[in-house]
């Protein structure tokens, strides 16, 4: 075996993980073309930047949902967590803690809540679907207690940096992908996938299954809180209900991107492509003046159809 072959192992593995994403790629391309035909203005530099900014929260929560689903869990508290993130960011930044303090508080919130949920799931072994459903009410309630109606304040400088005219958001997306690559290359990152794929086998192989799971939920919580911070920067204030549509969007994006409900299978690139497709669809629906709740119908239907497709195909192929 030559050195170049060895060096290629990582990229060969990565390339293999594109399998099954072809159909999504084609649909995404078609949607993008349709979008560009319908709204040619998208190719202006400013418009593209605005589009990426509109997409970014969905991309973040899709990544957050993907981490959890890879461990074999699910997070139904994504939306409320984004809301709480925006509320905490907006209310701490106007306090003496300042902008930096607000960012830190938001980060700590996400990691703290994520670690707690991870601990309950990984150590106390409660089903993730129950824990996160219950947590979604707790988090929503806390957000409403802190800010009963939209309010608080995000410094204009931060808003301008994150959601202004410079392509900072695109840079953040690149950072997200890089951070993900690094995380996935650590034993913890690979361990969370292995734990989702075959928990017993991973445990017997010496993978720290519990640590992998807790850190996965912590990382997921952090991304959700950051999405809240970003949304607060976009709107200039905190809103205790602003994240609501994002739970469904995150799951739909992940499922579209080939992330399995059973754990162990899926990629961030798939989930990001799924969230991009979702974002395009939402924009199209918006421009077509469909009511906002139509999103829910479309996203819910996407989940059901995407999950049902492989089973229908398998049923059609079954012998006897």
């Amino acid at each position: 075996m030559s050195g170049t072959v060895r060096r290629r192992l990582y990229w060969a593995i990565q390339w293999r993980r594109n399998e099954g994403l072809g159909a999504l790629g084609i649909v995404l391309l078609a949607a993008a073309v349709l979008y560009a035909v319908l709204f040619p203005g998208i190719f202006g530099a400013g418009a593209l930047n605005k589009f990426v900014q509109g997409w970014f929260p969905t991309a973040l929560v899709a990544a957050a949902e993907t981490i959890v689903m890879l461990t074999g869990g699910i997070d139904l508290a994504v939306g409320p967590m984004v809301s709480l993130g925006s509320v905490v960011a907006a209310s701490t930044m106007q306090s003496p803690l300042g902008t930096a303090g607000g960012v830190l508080a938001t980060l700590a919130l996400g990691i703290g809540v994520g670690s707690f949920v991870g601990w309950v799931v990984a150590v106390a072994r409660y089903p993730a679907i129950i824990v996160t459903l219950a947590m979604s009410f707790v988090i929503r309630g806390v957000a409403l207690l802190i800010l009963p109606r939209p309010g608080g304040f995000v410094p204009h400088g931060l808003s301008d940096l994150l959601a202004g005219n410079r392509p900072v958001t695109a840079l953040l997306l690149v950072l997200l992908v890089l951070a993900w690559k690094l995380y996935q290359a650590t034993p913890l990152g690979l361990g969370l996938v292995a734990a989702g794929d075959n928990a017993e086998g991973a445990y017997r192989s010496g993978v720290g299954v519990t640590a992998s799971r807790i850190s996965a939920y912590a990382a997921s919580g952090m991304l959700q809180a950051l999405a809240g911070l970003y949304v607060a920067a976009q709107t200039g204030s905190g809103d205790p209900l602003i994240g609501e549509p994002l739970t469904l969007a995150a799951i739909a994006a992940a499922v579209l991107g080939g992330v399995s409900f059973l754990g162990g299978q899926g990629t961030l690139r798939g989930a990001l492509a799924g969230s991009l497709l979702m974002s395009i669809l939402i924009n199209v629906m918006f421009f077509l003046r469909l009511p906002l709740v139509a999103q829910y119908v479309v996203q819910g239907a996407i989940i059901v159809v995407t999950v049902a497709l492989p089973r229908l195909r398998a049923a059609a192929r079954r012998p006897v």
């Binding site: 072959v5 192992l9 991973a202 010496g206 162990g264």
Partner: protein, 508 residues
Amino acid sequence: MSAAGAILGARSVSKSFFGNPVLRDVSIALLPGRIHALLGENGAGKSTLINLLSGTLAPDAGTLEIDGDRIAALAPRDARRLGIAVVQQELSLAPHLSIAENIGLGAAPRRWGMIDYRGLAARVAALCTGVGLTEPPELPVGRLPLGRRQLVEIAKALFRRPRVLILDEPTSSLAAPDVAMLTALVRRLRDQGVAILYISHRLNEILDFCEHVTVLKDGAVTADRPLAGLDPLGLVRLMVGRDPQDLFPPYRAQATAETVLQTNGFRSGTASGIDLTLHRGEILGLGGLAGQGQEEFLLGLAGAAPARAAQFRMTTGAKPRTAPFAGVAEANAAGLAYVPADRKREGLLQPHSIRLNLLLPGFAAHPVQRRRRAAEAATSAELAGRFTIRGDLRRPVQALSGGNQQKVALAKWLPLAPSILLLNDPTRGVDVETKREIYLALRAMAAEGKAVLLLSSDTPELVHLCDRVMVFHDGRVAALLPHGAATEEAIVAAALGLAAPAAASVPA
């Protein structure tokens, strides 16, 4: 009797599950540079012993010793650190991860806290060559056929540079050239001073290259000796032979000449080409090592798995049935009842009352009838009396012991008056007293003219209870032994694929 110089040993370990002793006072010593065979029938305690040695389970009594030091507790992590590696049967692989990642899982080289894919690739390449894995290392393991996954499992164990290597039936899914490769590899490891524990049902393999053997029977050691001077039948004799005590009711031939079910070329799952003739009043045993197709055969007959047959004729109903059943309800309606092995999951509704469980099949027969409580109480009380299920029938079924649960799982079918009973290992994990009661019930049902197909992992049961025994090996019937010829030696020999000494004399 942990020998001096052992890397890994167990001294007088015992282990019980739910009150059933699985290992009793077992000692074993694994020496460097020695291939040690572990032999025993299904349920003799081999897997439990492996799990103790690899830290997956903790013993109830007794100690483990590593390099002569006693250790209190062994977790899988400790076991690995101490150089104990187990090759399971395809249990530890993550199907969506690549071959290379699976091999390195939990032990991959790191640089700056991250997995060093370059270093991993180098070591994996060398190992894959060693075990004969030619697939690209980036291929997801789930894409490999079963036999190749076994090779990944072996490479994974070797990746940890083990001092003790436990191989649990490593060749069961390997093709012949791979077996030769594996054999050479294991010899090479032995020469490097690795202590090897080798579990296999292929006696010729064991005689071919193991040096020492420990034989387990019913959780106790019956032999711990060098292999030199033993032949295959000698090994079989060490595995079998149990005093039946008064466990079994005296045998009486009750089978009639009337055929109730006949199939030719029956296939279901891995079972194929099965010819069966079942008579009224007969108890026909199905034996063999676990997973040789006997369970799939039973499921196929019960309509619980897709099945085909060249010929099928069931003659108990009003008009004969000529095709295998497509569903369980259909089979039940025709007078066939299947009692599953996993009574907790498949046989019973655990949180519901004993009475409801006893009545459930009857409900299915009359789906839209008003319930008649008085008749239900009478029926359930009668069934309980007949199977000596004691106590309040309104208790949830999970309050009963395993044996009594099994009686409920069996009794509930009687109101449907089935003419053929398919039983999947009904006495597994059942205490002795209840076993005897189940045996008596089976005999009584046969005497009433029911035909019983009894799949059992307990060889004495097949010997003492059955009119004939079909022994499965590799998806086919290896021997059909009438009572008398079906000795424990003959059954186990046929199950292991040896030519049966008193082979297949087939009464019509």
